[in-house]
Protein backbone atom coordinates (compact mmCIF):
# COMPACT_ATOMS: atom_id res chain seq x y z
CA UNK A 1 0.00 0.00 0.00
CA UNK A 2 2.85 2.36 0.84
CA UNK A 3 4.41 1.59 -2.51
CA UNK A 4 1.13 2.33 -4.19
CA UNK A 5 0.74 5.70 -2.50
CA UNK A 6 4.28 6.61 -3.50
CA UNK A 7 3.46 5.68 -7.06
CA UNK A 8 0.29 7.73 -7.14
CA UNK A 9 2.14 10.71 -5.68
CA UNK A 10 4.64 10.47 -8.50
CA UNK A 11 1.83 10.42 -11.07
CA UNK A 12 0.35 13.56 -9.58
CA UNK A 13 3.76 15.22 -9.85
CA UNK A 14 3.82 14.36 -13.56
CA UNK A 15 0.38 15.81 -14.05
CA UNK A 16 0.84 19.01 -12.07
CA UNK A 17 4.29 19.71 -13.50
CA UNK A 18 2.84 19.78 -17.00
CA UNK A 19 0.87 22.97 -16.55
CA UNK A 20 -0.08 23.20 -20.19
CA UNK A 21 -1.64 19.76 -20.37
CA UNK A 22 -3.44 20.46 -17.13
CA UNK A 23 -4.78 23.72 -18.51
CA UNK A 24 -5.93 22.04 -21.68
CA UNK A 25 -7.38 19.17 -19.71
CA UNK A 26 -9.71 21.40 -17.74
CA UNK A 27 -10.09 24.29 -20.14
CA UNK A 28 -11.02 22.15 -23.11
CA UNK A 29 -14.19 20.56 -21.75
CA UNK A 30 -15.49 23.91 -20.53
CA UNK A 31 -14.93 25.61 -23.87
CA UNK A 32 -16.35 22.67 -25.78
CA UNK A 33 -19.47 22.24 -23.73
CA UNK A 34 -20.24 25.96 -23.86
CA UNK A 35 -19.56 26.22 -27.55
CA UNK A 36 -21.50 23.14 -28.54
CA UNK A 37 -24.28 23.69 -26.07
CA UNK A 38 -25.03 27.08 -27.55
CA UNK A 39 -24.09 26.54 -31.15
CA UNK A 40 -25.06 23.06 -32.21
CA UNK A 41 -28.60 22.18 -33.02
CA UNK A 42 -30.11 19.77 -35.45
CA UNK A 43 -33.15 21.95 -35.85
CA UNK A 44 -33.56 23.79 -39.09
CA UNK A 45 -33.95 27.56 -38.97
CA UNK A 46 -32.85 30.65 -40.88
CA UNK A 47 -32.44 28.65 -44.06
CA UNK A 48 -31.58 30.87 -47.00
CA UNK A 49 -34.01 30.40 -49.85
CA UNK A 50 -34.66 32.07 -53.17
CA UNK A 51 -37.93 32.79 -54.95
CA UNK A 52 -38.76 32.50 -58.59
CA UNK A 53 -42.13 34.18 -58.95
CA UNK A 54 -43.56 33.90 -62.44
CA UNK A 55 -46.91 35.18 -61.32
CA UNK A 56 -45.85 38.15 -59.20
CA UNK A 57 -49.17 39.32 -57.83
CA UNK A 58 -50.92 40.01 -54.56
CA UNK A 59 -51.49 36.38 -53.59
CA UNK A 60 -47.96 35.19 -54.26
CA UNK A 61 -46.66 38.23 -52.39
CA UNK A 62 -48.83 37.32 -49.43
CA UNK A 63 -47.56 33.76 -49.46
CA UNK A 64 -43.97 34.93 -49.78
CA UNK A 65 -44.48 37.24 -46.83
CA UNK A 66 -45.78 34.37 -44.76
CA UNK A 67 -42.75 32.32 -45.62
CA UNK A 68 -40.29 35.03 -44.86
CA UNK A 69 -42.07 35.76 -41.58
CA UNK A 70 -41.47 32.22 -40.34
CA UNK A 71 -38.35 31.60 -38.28
CA UNK A 72 -37.34 28.78 -40.55
CA UNK A 73 -36.58 30.79 -43.66
CA UNK A 74 -34.95 33.96 -44.79
CA UNK A 75 -35.46 34.93 -48.39
CA UNK A 76 -32.19 36.23 -49.68
CA UNK A 77 -32.69 36.34 -53.38
CA UNK A 78 -35.35 36.83 -56.01
CA UNK A 79 -34.47 35.24 -59.30
CA UNK A 80 -35.93 35.86 -62.70
CA UNK A 81 -35.32 32.85 -64.90
CA UNK A 82 -35.40 29.07 -64.54
CA UNK A 83 -31.81 28.93 -65.75
CA UNK A 84 -30.63 30.84 -62.72
CA UNK A 85 -31.74 28.06 -60.36
CA UNK A 86 -28.85 25.87 -61.31
CA UNK A 87 -26.30 28.60 -60.75
CA UNK A 88 -27.57 29.65 -57.31
CA UNK A 89 -27.45 26.04 -56.17
CA UNK A 90 -23.95 25.62 -57.50
CA UNK A 91 -22.74 28.63 -55.55
CA UNK A 92 -24.06 26.82 -52.54
CA UNK A 93 -25.62 29.40 -50.24
CA UNK A 94 -29.24 28.99 -51.30
CA UNK A 95 -30.76 25.75 -50.06
CA UNK A 96 -34.15 25.93 -51.74
CA UNK A 97 -35.98 27.75 -54.50
CA UNK A 98 -39.76 28.25 -54.59
CA UNK A 99 -41.06 28.35 -58.11
CA UNK A 100 -44.56 29.86 -58.46
CA UNK A 101 -46.15 28.93 -61.75
CA UNK A 102 -47.29 31.47 -64.28
CA UNK A 103 -50.77 32.82 -63.45
CA UNK A 104 -50.64 31.29 -59.99
CA UNK A 105 -53.36 33.56 -58.59
CA UNK A 106 -55.54 33.37 -61.63
CA UNK A 107 -55.45 29.59 -61.50
CA UNK A 108 -56.10 29.56 -57.80
CA UNK A 109 -59.18 31.76 -58.10
CA UNK A 110 -60.60 30.38 -61.31
CA UNK A 111 -59.55 26.73 -61.36
CA UNK A 112 -59.40 26.51 -57.57
CA UNK A 113 -56.01 24.93 -57.97
CA UNK A 114 -52.46 26.28 -58.43
CA UNK A 115 -48.99 24.82 -58.28
CA UNK A 116 -45.74 25.69 -56.52
CA UNK A 117 -42.53 23.82 -57.07
CA UNK A 118 -40.28 23.40 -54.05
CA UNK A 119 -36.80 22.84 -55.42
CA UNK A 120 -34.31 21.82 -52.78
CA UNK A 121 -30.60 21.22 -52.81
CA UNK A 122 -30.71 17.62 -51.69
CA UNK A 123 -26.97 17.15 -51.34
CA UNK A 124 -28.00 17.50 -47.71
CA UNK A 125 -31.05 15.21 -47.75
CA UNK A 126 -32.02 15.92 -44.18
CA UNK A 127 -32.24 19.67 -44.63
CA UNK A 128 -33.86 19.28 -48.04
CA UNK A 129 -36.58 17.06 -46.70
CA UNK A 130 -37.25 19.25 -43.70
CA UNK A 131 -37.38 22.42 -45.81
CA UNK A 132 -39.81 20.74 -48.16
CA UNK A 133 -42.04 19.74 -45.26
CA UNK A 134 -41.93 23.15 -43.64
CA UNK A 135 -42.80 25.01 -46.84
CA UNK A 136 -45.55 22.56 -47.44
CA UNK A 137 -47.03 23.10 -44.01
CA UNK A 138 -46.93 26.89 -44.41
CA UNK A 139 -48.75 26.58 -47.71
CA UNK A 140 -51.27 24.17 -46.26
CA UNK A 141 -51.95 26.53 -43.43
CA UNK A 142 -52.56 29.35 -45.87
CA UNK A 143 -54.85 27.10 -47.84
CA UNK A 144 -56.77 26.18 -44.71
CA UNK A 145 -57.28 29.82 -43.85
CA UNK A 146 -58.72 30.41 -47.29
CA UNK A 147 -61.02 27.46 -46.92
CA UNK A 148 -62.13 28.14 -43.39
CA UNK A 149 -65.61 29.07 -44.47
CA UNK A 150 -66.26 25.97 -46.50
CA UNK A 151 -64.70 22.92 -44.90
CA UNK A 152 -65.43 21.20 -41.65
CA UNK A 153 -62.59 20.97 -39.18
CA UNK A 154 -61.02 17.62 -38.52
CA UNK A 155 -63.12 15.62 -36.22
CA UNK A 156 -60.35 13.88 -34.38
CA UNK A 157 -57.54 15.86 -32.90
CA UNK A 158 -54.47 14.53 -31.25
CA UNK A 159 -53.04 16.05 -28.14
CA UNK A 160 -49.32 15.49 -28.29
CA UNK A 161 -47.49 15.47 -25.00
CA UNK A 162 -43.74 15.87 -25.38
CA UNK A 163 -42.34 14.12 -22.35
CA UNK A 164 -38.87 14.60 -20.84
CA UNK A 165 -38.20 17.64 -23.05
CA UNK A 166 -41.42 19.61 -23.48
CA UNK A 167 -39.74 22.55 -25.20
CA UNK A 168 -37.91 20.29 -27.65
CA UNK A 169 -34.55 21.85 -26.79
CA UNK A 170 -31.75 20.28 -28.73
CA UNK A 171 -29.32 21.10 -25.96
CA UNK A 172 -30.93 18.23 -23.99
CA UNK A 173 -29.76 15.95 -26.72
CA UNK A 174 -26.29 17.38 -27.17
CA UNK A 175 -25.09 17.97 -23.64
CA UNK A 176 -25.08 14.29 -22.63
CA UNK A 177 -23.38 13.50 -25.93
CA UNK A 178 -20.66 16.09 -25.56
CA UNK A 179 -20.07 15.03 -21.97
CA UNK A 180 -19.67 11.45 -23.11
CA UNK A 181 -17.25 12.30 -25.89
CA UNK A 182 -15.11 14.43 -23.62
CA UNK A 183 -14.93 11.85 -20.84
CA UNK A 184 -14.33 8.98 -23.25
CA UNK A 185 -11.55 10.51 -25.28
CA UNK A 186 -9.82 12.38 -22.50
CA UNK A 187 -9.74 9.32 -20.28
CA UNK A 188 -8.68 6.87 -22.96
CA UNK A 189 -6.11 9.24 -24.39
CA UNK A 190 -4.59 10.21 -21.07
CA UNK A 191 -3.99 6.68 -19.81
CA UNK A 192 -2.78 5.28 -23.08
CA UNK A 193 -0.33 8.15 -23.45
CA UNK A 194 0.94 8.11 -19.90
CA UNK A 195 1.65 4.37 -20.02
CA UNK A 196 3.29 4.34 -23.46
CA UNK A 197 5.30 7.38 -22.40
CA UNK A 198 7.01 5.31 -19.73
CA UNK A 199 7.69 2.64 -22.29
CA UNK A 200 9.17 5.10 -24.73
CA UNK A 201 11.32 6.85 -22.15
CA UNK A 202 12.58 3.54 -20.76
CA UNK A 203 11.26 4.02 -17.25
CA UNK A 204 8.79 1.17 -17.69
CA UNK A 205 11.69 -1.26 -17.75
CA UNK A 206 12.99 0.08 -14.47
CA UNK A 207 9.54 -0.33 -12.94
CA UNK A 208 9.31 -3.90 -14.20
CA UNK A 209 12.64 -4.78 -12.61
CA UNK A 210 11.53 -3.33 -9.29
CA UNK A 211 9.41 -5.35 -6.87
CA UNK A 212 6.33 -3.24 -7.61
CA UNK A 213 3.70 -5.42 -9.33
CA UNK A 214 2.58 -4.63 -12.89
CA UNK A 215 -0.95 -4.52 -11.58
CA UNK A 216 0.05 -1.85 -9.08
CA UNK A 217 1.80 0.12 -11.80
CA UNK A 218 -1.34 0.18 -13.92
CA UNK A 219 -3.75 0.97 -11.13
CA UNK A 220 -1.33 3.61 -9.89
CA UNK A 221 -1.22 5.22 -13.31
CA UNK A 222 -4.96 5.18 -13.72
CA UNK A 223 -5.91 6.36 -10.27
CA UNK A 224 -5.00 10.05 -10.64
CA UNK A 225 -6.88 10.18 -13.92
CA UNK A 226 -10.03 8.88 -12.29
CA UNK A 227 -9.71 11.81 -9.95
CA UNK A 228 -9.16 14.32 -12.77
CA UNK A 229 -11.94 12.92 -14.92
CA UNK A 230 -14.37 13.04 -12.02
CA UNK A 231 -13.57 16.73 -11.57
CA UNK A 232 -14.14 17.18 -15.28
CA UNK A 233 -17.46 15.38 -15.06
CA UNK A 234 -18.52 17.54 -12.13
CA UNK A 235 -17.65 20.73 -14.05
CA UNK A 236 -19.63 19.55 -17.06
CA UNK A 237 -22.66 18.61 -14.99
CA UNK A 238 -22.59 21.95 -13.18
CA UNK A 239 -22.35 23.81 -16.48
CA UNK A 240 -25.25 21.87 -17.93
CA UNK A 241 -27.39 22.52 -14.88
CA UNK A 242 -26.63 26.20 -14.41
CA UNK A 243 -25.91 27.41 -17.92
CA UNK A 244 -28.11 25.16 -20.03
CA UNK A 245 -30.80 24.56 -17.41
CA UNK A 246 -30.62 20.83 -17.89
CA UNK A 247 -32.68 19.14 -15.22
CA UNK A 248 -31.26 16.32 -13.15
CA UNK A 249 -34.48 14.49 -12.42
CA UNK A 250 -32.84 11.42 -10.99
CA UNK A 251 -30.45 10.82 -8.15
CA UNK A 252 -27.18 12.75 -8.18
CA UNK A 253 -25.50 9.90 -6.33
CA UNK A 254 -26.50 7.47 -9.04
CA UNK A 255 -25.28 9.94 -11.66
CA UNK A 256 -21.94 10.17 -9.87
CA UNK A 257 -21.66 6.42 -9.58
CA UNK A 258 -22.46 5.84 -13.26
CA UNK A 259 -20.05 8.58 -14.34
CA UNK A 260 -17.25 7.00 -12.36
CA UNK A 261 -18.11 3.64 -13.87
CA UNK A 262 -17.94 5.09 -17.37
CA UNK A 263 -14.69 6.89 -16.63
CA UNK A 264 -13.17 3.67 -15.35
CA UNK A 265 -14.26 1.80 -18.45
CA UNK A 266 -12.76 4.50 -20.69
CA UNK A 267 -9.54 4.34 -18.69
CA UNK A 268 -9.52 0.57 -19.01
CA UNK A 269 -9.84 0.99 -22.76
CA UNK A 270 -6.89 3.38 -22.59
CA UNK A 271 -4.85 0.74 -20.78
CA UNK A 272 -5.77 -1.79 -23.42
CA UNK A 273 -4.63 0.59 -26.16
CA UNK A 274 -1.36 1.18 -24.36
CA UNK A 275 -0.64 -2.53 -24.04
CA UNK A 276 -0.91 -3.01 -27.78
CA UNK A 277 1.11 0.04 -28.78
CA UNK A 278 4.80 0.58 -28.29
CA UNK A 279 4.98 4.32 -28.85
CA UNK A 280 2.94 7.30 -27.81
CA UNK A 281 2.34 8.05 -31.45
CA UNK A 282 0.68 4.70 -32.09
CA UNK A 283 -1.32 4.97 -28.88
CA UNK A 284 -2.58 8.39 -29.84
CA UNK A 285 -3.42 7.48 -33.38
CA UNK A 286 -5.44 4.52 -32.13
CA UNK A 287 -7.23 6.45 -29.45
CA UNK A 288 -7.91 9.47 -31.63
CA UNK A 289 -8.43 7.97 -35.05
CA UNK A 290 -9.98 4.82 -33.75
CA UNK A 291 -12.31 6.32 -31.18
CA UNK A 292 -13.29 9.80 -32.29
CA UNK A 293 -15.59 9.14 -35.22
CA UNK A 294 -17.15 5.90 -33.97
CA UNK A 295 -17.94 7.58 -30.67
CA UNK A 296 -19.48 10.58 -32.42
CA UNK A 297 -21.40 8.61 -35.02
CA UNK A 298 -22.33 5.29 -33.44
CA UNK A 299 -23.22 6.36 -29.92
CA UNK A 300 -26.58 7.91 -30.69
CA UNK A 301 -25.06 11.30 -29.88
CA UNK A 302 -26.19 12.91 -33.14
CA UNK A 303 -27.78 10.22 -35.24
CA UNK A 304 -30.57 7.99 -33.98
CA UNK A 305 -29.29 4.43 -33.68
CA UNK A 306 -32.70 2.94 -34.44
CA UNK A 307 -32.59 4.37 -37.97
CA UNK A 308 -29.25 2.75 -38.79
CA UNK A 309 -28.90 -0.45 -40.79
CA UNK A 310 -29.09 -3.57 -38.60
CA UNK A 311 -25.36 -4.50 -38.81
CA UNK A 312 -24.44 -1.03 -37.63
CA UNK A 313 -26.93 -1.19 -34.80
CA UNK A 314 -25.15 -4.34 -33.82
CA UNK A 315 -21.74 -2.68 -33.95
CA UNK A 316 -23.05 0.21 -31.87
CA UNK A 317 -23.57 -2.21 -28.98
CA UNK A 318 -19.80 -2.44 -28.69
CA UNK A 319 -19.44 1.30 -28.15
CA UNK A 320 -19.38 2.00 -24.40
CA UNK A 321 -20.40 5.60 -25.10
CA UNK A 322 -23.76 4.43 -26.43
CA UNK A 323 -24.66 2.85 -23.11
CA UNK A 324 -23.48 5.81 -21.11
CA UNK A 325 -25.57 8.21 -23.19
CA UNK A 326 -28.64 6.07 -22.51
CA UNK A 327 -27.80 6.10 -18.81
CA UNK A 328 -27.17 9.86 -18.74
CA UNK A 329 -30.40 10.70 -20.51
CA UNK A 330 -32.23 8.28 -18.27
CA UNK A 331 -30.98 9.80 -15.04
CA UNK A 332 -30.92 13.46 -16.07
CA UNK A 333 -34.03 13.77 -18.23
CA UNK A 334 -36.24 10.84 -17.33
CA UNK A 335 -35.32 10.67 -13.68
CA UNK A 336 -35.09 6.89 -13.62
CA UNK A 337 -33.42 4.87 -10.93
CA UNK A 338 -31.11 1.90 -11.16
CA UNK A 339 -34.05 -0.44 -11.71
CA UNK A 340 -34.43 0.99 -15.22
CA UNK A 341 -30.79 1.16 -16.22
CA UNK A 342 -29.31 -1.89 -14.53
CA UNK A 343 -28.87 -3.56 -17.90
CA UNK A 344 -26.79 -0.72 -19.34
CA UNK A 345 -24.86 -0.52 -16.09
CA UNK A 346 -24.07 -4.23 -16.20
CA UNK A 347 -22.92 -3.92 -19.80
CA UNK A 348 -20.52 -1.13 -18.87
CA UNK A 349 -19.20 -3.17 -15.96
CA UNK A 350 -18.78 -6.15 -18.25
CA UNK A 351 -16.87 -4.09 -20.81
CA UNK A 352 -14.60 -2.68 -18.12
CA UNK A 353 -13.80 -6.15 -16.83
CA UNK A 354 -13.18 -7.34 -20.39
CA UNK A 355 -10.80 -4.48 -21.21
CA UNK A 356 -8.94 -5.03 -17.95
CA UNK A 357 -8.75 -8.77 -18.50
CA UNK A 358 -7.32 -8.47 -21.99
CA UNK A 359 -4.88 -5.80 -20.81
CA UNK A 360 -3.55 -7.97 -18.01
CA UNK A 361 -3.13 -10.86 -20.43
CA UNK A 362 -1.44 -8.74 -23.08
CA UNK A 363 0.73 -7.11 -20.46
CA UNK A 364 2.10 -10.46 -19.35
CA UNK A 365 2.77 -11.51 -22.92
CA UNK A 366 4.94 -8.45 -23.36
CA UNK A 367 7.19 -9.70 -20.62
CA UNK A 368 8.09 -12.86 -22.51
Amino acid sequence: MKRFIGFVTKEFYHIFRDRRSLFILFGMPIVQILLFGFAITNEINNVDIAILDHSNDAITKEIINKISASKYFSIIQLIEREDDIESVFKKGNVKAVLNFEQDFSKNLIKERQATVQILTDATDPNTANTISNYVNSILKKYQQEQNKAITINYVIVSEPRMVYNPELKSVYMFVPGVMTIILMLVSAMMTSISITREKELGTMEILLVSPIKPFQVIVGKVFPYIFLSVINAIIIVLLSIFIFKMPVQGSLILLAFESILFIVSALALGILISTISATQQTAMMISLMGLMLPVILLSGFIFPISSMPIPLQFISHAIPAKWFIIILKGIMLKGVGLEFIWKETLILIGMTVLFMGISVKKYKIRLE
Binding site: R3, Y13, H14, R17, D18, T203, E205, I206, V209, S210
Partner: protein, 242 residues
Protein backbone atom coordinates in the same frame (compact mmCIF):
# COMPACT_ATOMS: atom_id res chain seq x y z
CA UNK B 1 24.92 -24.44 -3.98
CA UNK B 2 28.02 -22.44 -3.25
CA UNK B 3 26.82 -19.43 -1.24
CA UNK B 4 29.58 -17.29 -2.67
CA UNK B 5 28.18 -17.63 -6.17
CA UNK B 6 25.46 -14.95 -6.41
CA UNK B 7 24.72 -15.63 -10.05
CA UNK B 8 24.74 -19.16 -11.41
CA UNK B 9 23.75 -19.79 -15.01
CA UNK B 10 23.63 -23.17 -16.75
CA UNK B 11 22.75 -23.67 -20.40
CA UNK B 12 20.53 -20.60 -20.45
CA UNK B 13 18.83 -20.23 -23.85
CA UNK B 14 16.41 -17.78 -25.38
CA UNK B 15 14.73 -18.36 -28.70
CA UNK B 16 12.67 -15.82 -30.64
CA UNK B 17 10.88 -18.12 -33.06
CA UNK B 18 13.69 -19.81 -35.00
CA UNK B 19 16.27 -17.30 -33.98
CA UNK B 20 18.49 -18.24 -31.05
CA UNK B 21 19.34 -14.97 -29.34
CA UNK B 22 21.12 -16.59 -26.41
CA UNK B 23 22.62 -20.02 -26.98
CA UNK B 24 23.12 -22.17 -23.89
CA UNK B 25 25.36 -19.85 -21.92
CA UNK B 26 26.92 -21.05 -18.68
CA UNK B 27 28.78 -18.96 -16.13
CA UNK B 28 28.85 -17.94 -12.48
CA UNK B 29 29.54 -14.67 -10.69
CA UNK B 30 31.11 -14.43 -7.23
CA UNK B 31 29.91 -12.19 -4.45
CA UNK B 32 31.51 -8.72 -4.55
CA UNK B 33 32.88 -9.29 -8.03
CA UNK B 34 32.77 -6.75 -10.89
CA UNK B 35 31.68 -8.91 -13.76
CA UNK B 36 32.00 -7.44 -17.27
CA UNK B 37 29.53 -8.71 -19.84
CA UNK B 38 30.87 -7.82 -23.26
CA UNK B 39 29.69 -8.35 -26.79
CA UNK B 40 29.05 -6.58 -30.03
CA UNK B 41 25.63 -5.05 -30.71
CA UNK B 42 23.16 -7.86 -31.25
CA UNK B 43 25.38 -10.50 -29.66
CA UNK B 44 22.63 -11.20 -27.13
CA UNK B 45 23.96 -9.58 -24.00
CA UNK B 46 20.94 -7.40 -23.30
CA UNK B 47 18.62 -10.37 -23.84
CA UNK B 48 20.72 -12.48 -21.46
CA UNK B 49 20.63 -9.72 -18.87
CA UNK B 50 16.86 -9.31 -19.19
CA UNK B 51 16.43 -12.99 -18.36
CA UNK B 52 18.58 -12.60 -15.26
CA UNK B 53 16.60 -9.62 -13.97
CA UNK B 54 13.30 -11.37 -14.49
CA UNK B 55 11.68 -9.37 -17.26
CA UNK B 56 12.17 -11.96 -19.96
CA UNK B 57 11.37 -15.64 -19.68
CA UNK B 58 14.15 -18.05 -20.68
CA UNK B 59 13.36 -20.77 -23.21
CA UNK B 60 15.49 -23.38 -21.46
CA UNK B 61 18.42 -23.88 -19.12
CA UNK B 62 18.63 -22.73 -15.53
CA UNK B 63 19.68 -19.60 -13.74
CA UNK B 64 19.82 -18.51 -10.11
CA UNK B 65 20.24 -14.91 -9.08
CA UNK B 66 20.86 -14.07 -5.41
CA UNK B 67 19.91 -17.68 -4.70
CA UNK B 68 16.51 -17.48 -6.43
CA UNK B 69 15.37 -19.29 -9.53
CA UNK B 70 14.59 -16.98 -12.48
CA UNK B 71 11.81 -19.29 -13.60
CA UNK B 72 9.84 -19.45 -10.41
CA UNK B 73 11.09 -16.75 -8.08
CA UNK B 74 11.40 -13.68 -10.27
CA UNK B 75 9.63 -11.55 -7.68
CA UNK B 76 12.16 -12.48 -4.99
CA UNK B 77 14.99 -11.67 -7.36
CA UNK B 78 13.58 -8.20 -7.97
CA UNK B 79 13.80 -7.36 -4.28
CA UNK B 80 17.48 -8.22 -4.21
CA UNK B 81 18.80 -6.55 -7.30
CA UNK B 82 19.26 -3.03 -8.58
CA UNK B 83 19.07 -2.09 -12.24
CA UNK B 84 20.23 0.81 -14.31
CA UNK B 85 19.38 0.80 -18.00
CA UNK B 86 21.13 2.46 -20.90
CA UNK B 87 18.39 5.10 -20.93
CA UNK B 88 19.20 6.36 -17.37
CA UNK B 89 15.61 6.05 -16.56
CA UNK B 90 14.95 8.77 -14.06
CA UNK B 91 11.87 10.92 -14.47
CA UNK B 92 12.84 14.18 -16.15
CA UNK B 93 9.85 16.06 -14.82
CA UNK B 94 10.54 15.11 -11.21
CA UNK B 95 13.20 16.75 -9.02
CA UNK B 96 16.23 14.81 -7.81
CA UNK B 97 14.69 14.44 -4.37
CA UNK B 98 11.34 13.36 -5.76
CA UNK B 99 13.01 10.72 -7.89
CA UNK B 100 14.86 9.34 -4.88
CA UNK B 101 11.68 9.35 -2.80
CA UNK B 102 9.74 7.63 -5.56
CA UNK B 103 12.22 4.83 -6.19
CA UNK B 104 12.80 4.37 -2.47
CA UNK B 105 9.04 4.04 -2.16
CA UNK B 106 8.54 1.39 -4.80
CA UNK B 107 11.33 -0.67 -3.22
CA UNK B 108 9.44 -0.46 0.03
CA UNK B 109 11.90 1.64 2.04
CA UNK B 110 10.53 3.37 5.14
CA UNK B 111 10.15 7.14 5.18
CA UNK B 112 12.96 7.45 7.69
CA UNK B 113 15.27 5.29 5.63
CA UNK B 114 14.48 7.30 2.48
CA UNK B 115 15.30 10.51 4.31
CA UNK B 116 18.57 9.07 5.54
CA UNK B 117 19.52 7.78 2.10
CA UNK B 118 18.59 11.03 0.41
CA UNK B 119 20.86 12.97 2.70
CA UNK B 120 23.65 10.46 2.23
CA UNK B 121 23.37 10.68 -1.56
CA UNK B 122 23.23 14.44 -1.63
CA UNK B 123 26.34 14.60 0.52
CA UNK B 124 28.23 11.92 -1.41
CA UNK B 125 27.51 13.35 -4.84
CA UNK B 126 27.58 17.01 -3.87
CA UNK B 127 23.98 17.56 -4.99
CA UNK B 128 23.08 20.32 -2.48
CA UNK B 129 22.40 22.91 -5.16
CA UNK B 130 20.43 20.75 -7.52
CA UNK B 131 18.46 18.54 -5.15
CA UNK B 132 15.27 20.46 -5.86
CA UNK B 133 15.85 20.90 -9.57
CA UNK B 134 14.10 18.89 -12.22
CA UNK B 135 16.26 16.01 -13.40
CA UNK B 136 15.62 16.98 -17.02
CA UNK B 137 17.67 20.15 -16.52
CA UNK B 138 20.79 18.33 -15.31
CA UNK B 139 23.81 17.34 -17.44
CA UNK B 140 23.99 13.73 -18.57
CA UNK B 141 26.90 12.83 -16.33
CA UNK B 142 25.01 13.87 -13.23
CA UNK B 143 21.96 11.97 -14.29
CA UNK B 144 24.03 8.83 -14.61
CA UNK B 145 25.59 9.17 -11.24
CA UNK B 146 22.21 9.82 -9.64
CA UNK B 147 20.75 6.93 -11.58
CA UNK B 148 23.42 4.58 -10.25
CA UNK B 149 22.93 5.76 -6.70
CA UNK B 150 19.20 5.26 -7.09
CA UNK B 151 19.84 1.69 -8.25
CA UNK B 152 21.78 1.14 -5.00
CA UNK B 153 19.17 2.82 -2.84
CA UNK B 154 17.68 -0.36 -1.40
CA UNK B 155 21.11 -1.93 -0.82
CA UNK B 156 20.68 -4.74 -3.34
CA UNK B 157 22.98 -7.78 -3.39
CA UNK B 158 23.62 -7.38 -7.10
CA UNK B 159 23.45 -4.36 -9.39
CA UNK B 160 22.89 -4.81 -13.10
CA UNK B 161 24.24 -1.99 -15.25
CA UNK B 162 23.27 -1.96 -18.92
CA UNK B 163 25.82 0.16 -20.83
CA UNK B 164 25.84 2.73 -18.06
CA UNK B 165 28.42 5.16 -19.42
CA UNK B 166 27.20 5.78 -22.96
CA UNK B 167 27.83 9.30 -24.16
CA UNK B 168 29.69 10.85 -21.26
CA UNK B 169 33.16 12.39 -21.01
CA UNK B 170 36.19 10.40 -19.78
CA UNK B 171 36.38 12.28 -16.50
CA UNK B 172 32.79 11.49 -15.61
CA UNK B 173 33.34 7.89 -16.68
CA UNK B 174 36.32 7.70 -14.37
CA UNK B 175 34.24 9.08 -11.49
CA UNK B 176 31.51 6.66 -12.34
CA UNK B 177 33.87 3.70 -12.11
CA UNK B 178 35.12 4.95 -8.80
CA UNK B 179 31.53 4.73 -7.58
CA UNK B 180 31.33 1.19 -8.92
CA UNK B 181 34.51 0.20 -7.08
CA UNK B 182 33.22 1.69 -3.88
CA UNK B 183 29.99 -0.27 -4.16
CA UNK B 184 31.86 -3.50 -4.95
CA UNK B 185 34.13 -2.89 -2.02
CA UNK B 186 31.10 -2.79 0.25
CA UNK B 187 30.16 -6.26 -0.96
CA UNK B 188 27.73 -5.44 -3.78
CA UNK B 189 28.16 -7.60 -6.84
CA UNK B 190 28.33 -5.61 -10.08
CA UNK B 191 27.15 -7.06 -13.38
CA UNK B 192 27.94 -4.61 -16.15
CA UNK B 193 27.55 -4.63 -19.92
CA UNK B 194 29.69 -2.19 -21.87
CA UNK B 195 31.09 -1.27 -25.26
CA UNK B 196 34.14 0.45 -23.89
CA UNK B 197 37.12 -1.88 -23.84
CA UNK B 198 39.07 0.33 -21.47
CA UNK B 199 36.23 -0.23 -19.02
CA UNK B 200 36.59 -3.96 -19.54
CA UNK B 201 40.09 -3.63 -18.09
CA UNK B 202 38.55 -2.37 -14.83
CA UNK B 203 36.49 -5.52 -14.35
CA UNK B 204 37.55 -8.43 -12.16
CA UNK B 205 36.41 -10.92 -14.78
CA UNK B 206 35.06 -10.51 -18.28
CA UNK B 207 32.91 -12.64 -20.53
CA UNK B 208 32.68 -11.97 -24.24
CA UNK B 209 29.56 -12.98 -26.16
CA UNK B 210 29.59 -13.61 -29.89
CA UNK B 211 26.36 -14.57 -31.72
CA UNK B 212 24.56 -15.69 -28.59
CA UNK B 213 27.45 -17.74 -27.14
CA UNK B 214 30.05 -16.95 -24.53
CA UNK B 215 33.32 -17.31 -26.39
CA UNK B 216 35.70 -16.26 -23.65
CA UNK B 217 35.50 -15.84 -19.88
CA UNK B 218 38.37 -14.94 -17.57
CA UNK B 219 40.22 -12.08 -15.94
CA UNK B 220 41.33 -9.39 -18.40
CA UNK B 221 44.96 -10.29 -17.70
CA UNK B 222 44.54 -13.96 -18.55
CA UNK B 223 42.47 -13.21 -21.62
CA UNK B 224 45.21 -10.99 -22.98
CA UNK B 225 47.75 -13.69 -22.35
CA UNK B 226 45.57 -16.31 -23.93
CA UNK B 227 45.13 -14.30 -27.13
CA UNK B 228 48.68 -12.92 -26.99
CA UNK B 229 47.65 -9.30 -27.28
CA UNK B 230 48.25 -6.19 -25.15
CA UNK B 231 44.78 -4.77 -24.74
CA UNK B 232 41.21 -5.95 -24.23
CA UNK B 233 40.35 -4.11 -27.40
CA UNK B 234 42.48 -6.55 -29.38
CA UNK B 235 41.00 -9.51 -27.55
CA UNK B 236 37.58 -8.31 -28.52
CA UNK B 237 38.51 -7.69 -32.16
CA UNK B 238 40.10 -11.11 -32.46
CA UNK B 239 37.02 -12.83 -31.10
CA UNK B 240 34.43 -10.74 -32.89
CA UNK B 241 36.11 -11.25 -36.24
CA UNK B 242 36.36 -14.97 -35.53
Amino acid sequence: MNSNKVIQVKGLTKMFGDFTAVNAITFAVEKGEIFGFLGANGAGKTTAMKMLIGISNPTSGSAHVAGFDVFTQAEDIKKNIGYMSQKFALYDDLTVKENITFFGGIYGLSKLKIKEKTKEMIDDLGLEDVANQLVGALPLGWKQKISFSVALLHEPKIVFLDEPTGGVDPITRRQFWEMIYRAAHQGTTIFVTTHYMDEAEYCDRVSIMVSGKIEALDTPKKLKEQFQVTSMNDVFLKLARG
